[in-house]
Every structure is written in structure tokens, then in C-alpha cells.
């Protein structure tokens, strides 16, 4: 192993996608739950809805770009959960819950990260489809007829948002506490080896 080596860990593409994702989801979650419970009297709903719709548009474009990137760069195996990850899951959990001091080498991301990223991909798709149906109604709603009506779609959109909002803090917490090397790499792109 070369000493003091500088290694690319996050390409420019993943960094751009990541930080766009970060800003749009934060805006979407705040504006979205504000729609569920608009607690500030006199704060225009129109503004909130515009924020939600604009961030949603960027979110969906970002999701499409992200997916394109991972498929065509053939890097998807880094972030999509595989059977092998599932087999390794118990061991990984015992590391997370302090039963083991170390964990084996898993590749770019560990099974827990992969589980969360994969579930977010699906949740993001679900939020996009249900969100578009709520926004454009008619032809989009017809896709779900007669299994889901507009009322159940709104409920589904809400529950998907709850999942998103409840798992993001875990990601941020672990990003801040697990490995400062990787934390700075999501900004700078590179890792430096000893």
C-alpha cells in the first residue's frame, strides 16, 4: 500500500447528487409536514405549496439523474442491497450494538447503509408517484383506480414521508460519528491514506 496516498472516494457526480438530495429532502420534509399541520396562522399556504412543488421537481430530476448515473456507471452494486449483505446483516448489527469491536470489510458501504439507501430509492419513487398524482390528479389518479383513491394516496404519501423523516437523522448521526474520513470525503471527494 502506498503511503500518504490520496484516493477518490466520492466522485463529483455522487457529491453533487448527494447535496442536491440533501437540500431538496429537507425542504420537502419541512414544507410537507407543514401542509399536514399548518400551525402558523397567516403564513400563506400558497408559498409553502410552491416550495414543496419546486423542491419536488428538483428532487425527481435528481432521482432520475442519480439512477441513470448508478445504472450506466455500473456502480449500483455499491448502494443496492444484495443477498450477501443480508447474510452479513446479523454480524453487522452486533457491531452496531457494541457486541463486537470491529466489523469486517464490506466494500464502499456497509449492509446497513445499503439497506437505507435502497429503501430511500424506493421511498423516493413512491413519493414522486403519489405526489404527482396528488398534484395533477385526473390522468395520474387513473393509474391507481380502483385500488387507491386520492384520499388513500395522500395517506400513503404521508406515511412514506414519515419513513423518510424518521430515517434521515440516523444517517446524519452515523455520518457524523462513524468515520470522519468519509465524512470529509462527501465534501472533498478524497480520502487520504496513512
Amino acid at each position: 500500500m502506498v503511503k500518504n496516498e490520496k484516493v477518490l472516494h466520492q466522485t463529483l457526480a455522487t457529491r453533487l447528487f448527494h447535496w442536491t438530495l440533501f437540500f431538496t429532502t429537507i425542504f420537502l420534509i419541512i414544507s410537507g409536514f407543514y401542509i399536514t399541520y399548518p400551525f402558523i396562522q397567516g403564513l400563506p399556504m400558497r408559498t409553502i405549496k410552491t416550495i414543496h412543488a419546486t423542491s419536488a421537481f428538483i428532487f425527481m430530476s435528481n432521482l432520475a439523474g442519480y439512477t441513470y448515473y448508478y445504472i450506466f456507471s455500473k456502480q449500483w452494486y455499491h448502494i443496492i442491497l444484495s443477498w450477501r449483505d443480508l447474510r452479513e446483516f446479523p454480524g453487522f448489527l452486533s457491531y452496531v450494538f457494541f457486541l463486537r469491536k470491529e466489523h469486517p470489510f464490506y466494500g464502499k458501504y456497509n449492509p446497513g447503509q445499503k439497506l437505507i439507501y435502497t429503501s430511500w430509492f424506493l421511498t423516493g419513487l413512491g413519493l414522486s408517484v403519489t405526489g404527482l398524482a396528488l398534484k395533477f390528479k385526473g390522468p395520474m389518479l387513473a393509474l391507481f383506480t380502483p385500488y387507491l383513491n386520492i384520499s388513500s394516496l395522500r395517506l400513503l404519501h404521508y406515511y412514506l414521508a414519515v419513513y423518510f423523516a424518521a430515517t434521515i437523522p440516523i444517517h446524519i448521526y452515523l455520518a457524523l460519528t462513524e468515520n470522519p474520513v468519509k465524512l470529509q470525503a462527501i465534501f472533498s471527494g478524497y480520502l487520504r491514506r496513512k
Binding site: 477518490l8 399536514t36 448515473y69 466494500g107 383513491n149 395522500r154 470522519p180
Partner: protein, 404 residues
């Protein structure tokens, strides 16, 4: 006779001051008088329900339901609103099927009770045979020219099918194998029923949406037509029913209900819920009432046999679990010294990927994996020579190692 375009315009606008039924009836009477259209026979079948649609029609003041059934259509059977009784009344049903096949209109009110072959809903007796709702429906619908389901029960099951639905109530379209025009509402507005029946009589099937509801009445959400919409947009919300302001926070289902109540209004165009300070309960929603209950809550509960699941409570519990999880993990992280170790190591990586000790063979396996993958990628790239966005991105910032 009115052209179809004029008719639709009437349905969506002129109705407001005059009353749709009022205007329609004179137009239709004229068309009949000039023999422009035949007057179709109509069978009104009531299944599992509360008779709400008939009462709603009966509430129409001018003209009353009698005029409606006599001037627009030729009413053959309605168990409540006909003069004949007993055997003679039922006989009219069978005579209509026999004498006017593919001519008569069937209007169904109420949901179809399916539990135990439907025997909790007997509708009539004929030739010593009891007919269940399903039997009668299948029999009459087979030769009907049009089948119209009025009210949320007939259209989608409605309150009769609410959780836990002991009678196995379902909407008409789920039982018969043909197109059903759905006119929902609990009850359905007299204008929606009269308008749909009149359209069917004069021009045939109206334009329908994906739930087979006439677009002329159910094409827009209540929220899009509501008088208090400006309060919604500017964020002026009522915190109790009866207060001025938009009723969104007290559970108004206007945003998820397609109907024209704000312009059509109820009780002979006098008023409608939001104008009196009560939120819309979503009675024309295909999922009513389960998908819109509790009425004074923004999002519906999910009904289970144990307890209804409240979405806000679920959200709060999810938040609490996350906070608790992170809090306790952080405590252990500090106590076991793991956090300190991680942070002390700083931003220089100690080995291949993590500062944790890695088994040598794992690294070798992973390296092999990577080499294999790279080769596959290379082969693929050479094969298809694809110069996509990704290749450019990778060129911009090449993966792999750089020495400094």
C-alpha cells in the same frame, strides 16, 4: 331540444339560481311533446341502504320527485314511491324486463350485500321465490340499457361497507359484469341524479371519469371551487368548526373530494357544509367513509380490529423511536469510547477502507471482486462503445488512485 353543449353548460352554471331540475324538466317535456326522443321506462332498485337518495330526490321542491319520475322517465318500479303494492308492484319489474329489453334504465340505490349469498338483503318475492339483492340486480341489469348507481353505497359500498363490513357490502360495479355509471354522494344531490338521468335519456351516456362518474358534476375538487379557498391560500385557518376561515385544519376533505357542492349547493341551492362552518366530510369520495374518517381530522385513520391507527400518532412514535435510538446509541458510543476513537483518528484513513481492523482475506476478496467488475465493465464498454454522460463524468473525475 337543447343541444348537448347547452345541456352541459346548464349543468355546470345556470343551475345555480334556477335549479337544474326545474329548467331541465320543461326542456325535456317539450322534447317528448315533439316526439324527439322516446320516454324510457325506469326501474329504481333499492338494496342495502338508508333510502337517502330517494329522500334527497323527494326533498327537491320544484319540481317534486313525482313530476321527475313522470315527465323525464316512465317510472315502472320504486318500492317506496309507487302506487301499486305487493305482487302487482313486483310484476311491473318482470313485465318491464320482458316488454322493454335494452330500453329501460336501471337505477340502483344502496350497496350489494354479498355475505352468505346475499340473504341479509331480500328485496321482493315473486312466484313464491324470494329474491336477494344480488339476484334482483343481476336479473334486472342484464337487459337494462343503462345501469346508474346513485349514492356512495351503490357506487362503492359507502357507509354500508364501512369497517368491519359485516354484511360484505360492495358497490354495484363489483357484482355485475357491465358498465355502471356512478353518481356518488351521501346522499347524492338531487341535481346530480336528475342531471345524469336526463343526460342518459336525451343524449346517452355522459362523459365519465376514471371512476365512471359524470365529469359534468365530479370533474373538479371541492377545494378548487370553494369560496374559502382564498383563506386557504393566505393561511387563515379556522381552529374550530363554525369559525371563519378555511376549514383545512378541522379536517376538511375538500382537497380530496371531487364534487361541485360549492357552486351547486344543497337543499334547493340554499347552502352547503363549508358555508355553515362545517368541514367537507368527503361523502362523494370512493373510499367514503373509511378513507375520510374521522371527519374532523386531516388524514384518515386506518381501521383495524384492535384499534384505529392514527397517522399523527404513528408519525410521533416514529420520531420518538428515532430520537430514543440515536440518544441511547450516542450514550454507548461515548461510554465504550468508540466515538472518541473515531474522532481522534481524524480525517486520515488508517487502512484500506476503515479504521477498524479488517481481515486480510476480506480485502483480497474485495479486491478480486473489484478487478472482476472492472474487467466486465471494460468489456461492456468496448462492446457497446457507449459514450454516455457517465463516461464523461468519470473522465472529469477519474475513479482510481492518484499519487501525490
Amino acid at each position: 331540444m337543447l343541444t348537448r353543449r347547452e345541456f352541459l353548460k346548464l349543468c355546470t352554471t345556470a343551475s345555480l339560481s334556477l335549479g337544474l331540475s326545474n329548467t331541465l324538466i320543461s326542456e325535456i317535456a317539450q322534447a317528448f311533446a315533439q316526439n324527439l326522443i322516446p320516454k324510457p321506462p325506469l326501474i329504481w332498485l333499492e338494496l342495502g341502504t338508508c333510502t337517502g337518495e330517494s329522500i334527497s330526490l323527494d326533498n327537491a321542491v320544484s319540481p317534486d320527485v313525482r313530476v321527475l319520475f313522470q315527465e323525464i322517465v316512465d317510472l315502472k318500479y320504486h318500492w317506496l314511491l309507487m302506487q301499486a303494492q305487493g305482487k302487482r308492484a313486483v310484476q311491473a319489474v318482470f313485465e318491464t324486463i320482458e316488454n322493454h329489453p335494452n330500453e329501460y334504465i336501471l337505477v340502483v340505490e344502496g350497496s350489494v350485500i354479498t355475505k352468505d349469498q346475499g340473504r341479509y338483503n331480500m328485496v321482493f318475492e315473486y312466484n313464491n321465490k324470494m329474491y336477494t339483492g344480488i339476484d334482483a340486480l343481476r336479473l334486472i341489469a342484464e337487459k337494462a340499457k343503462h345501469v346508474i348507481a346513485v349514492g356512495d353505497c351503490a357506487a362503492y359500498g359507502g357507509p354500508t361497507a364501512a369497517f368491519p363490513n359485516p354484511a360484505g357490502a360492495v358497490g354495484v360495479w363489483q357484482v355485475i359484469d357491465r358498465k355502471v355509471i356512478n353518481v356518488p354522494g351521501c346522499p347524492s344531490n338531487a341535481d346530480w341524479m336528475t342531471g345524469t338521468i336526463a343526460h342518459v335519456v336525451m343524449y346517452g351516456e355522459p362523459e365519465l371519469d376514471d371512476y365512471n362518474q359524470p365529469k359534468m358534476f365530479f370533474g373538479q375538487t371541492i377545494h378548487d371551487l370553494c369560496h374559502r379557498r382564498s383563506d386557504f391560500e393566505t393561511g387563515k385557518f379556522a381552529s374550530y368548526p363554525g369559525e371563519p376561515g378555511c376549514l383545512f385544519k378541522v379536517g376538511c376533505k375538500g382537497p380530496v373530494t371531487f364534487a361541485d357542492c360549492p357552486v351547486r349547493q344543497w337543499n334547493n341551492h340554499i347552502n352547503w357544509p363549508v358555508e355553515t362552518g362545517a368541514p367537507c366530510i368527503g361523502c362523494a369520495n370512493p373510499g367514503f367513509p373509511d378513507a375520510t374518517m374521522p371527519f374532523f381530522q386531516h388524514l384518515p385513520n386506518i381501521q383495524t380490529s384492535l384499534k384505529p391507527i392514527n397517522p399523527l400518532t404513528v408519525g410521533k412514535i416514529a420520531g420518538a423511536i428515532t430520537a430514543l435510538g440515536i440518544g441511547s446509541h450516542l450514550t454507548f458510543n461515548v461510554l465504550t469510547g468508540r466515538l472518541g476513537k473515531h474522532w481522534l483518528q481524524g480525517t486520515v484513513d488508517t487502512d484500506e477502507t476503515s479504521q477498524e481492523k479488517v481481515k486480510q482475506e476480506e480485502i483480497i476478496m474485495h479486491k478480486l471482486d473489484q478487478v472482476l467488475h472492472k474487467q466486465e465493465t471494460l468489456i461492456d464498454h468496448n462492446l457497446c462503445k457507449k459514450e454516455g454522460l457517465i463516461n464523461k463524468m468519470n473522465k472529469l473525475v477519474p475513479r482510481g488512485r492518484k499519487k501525490i
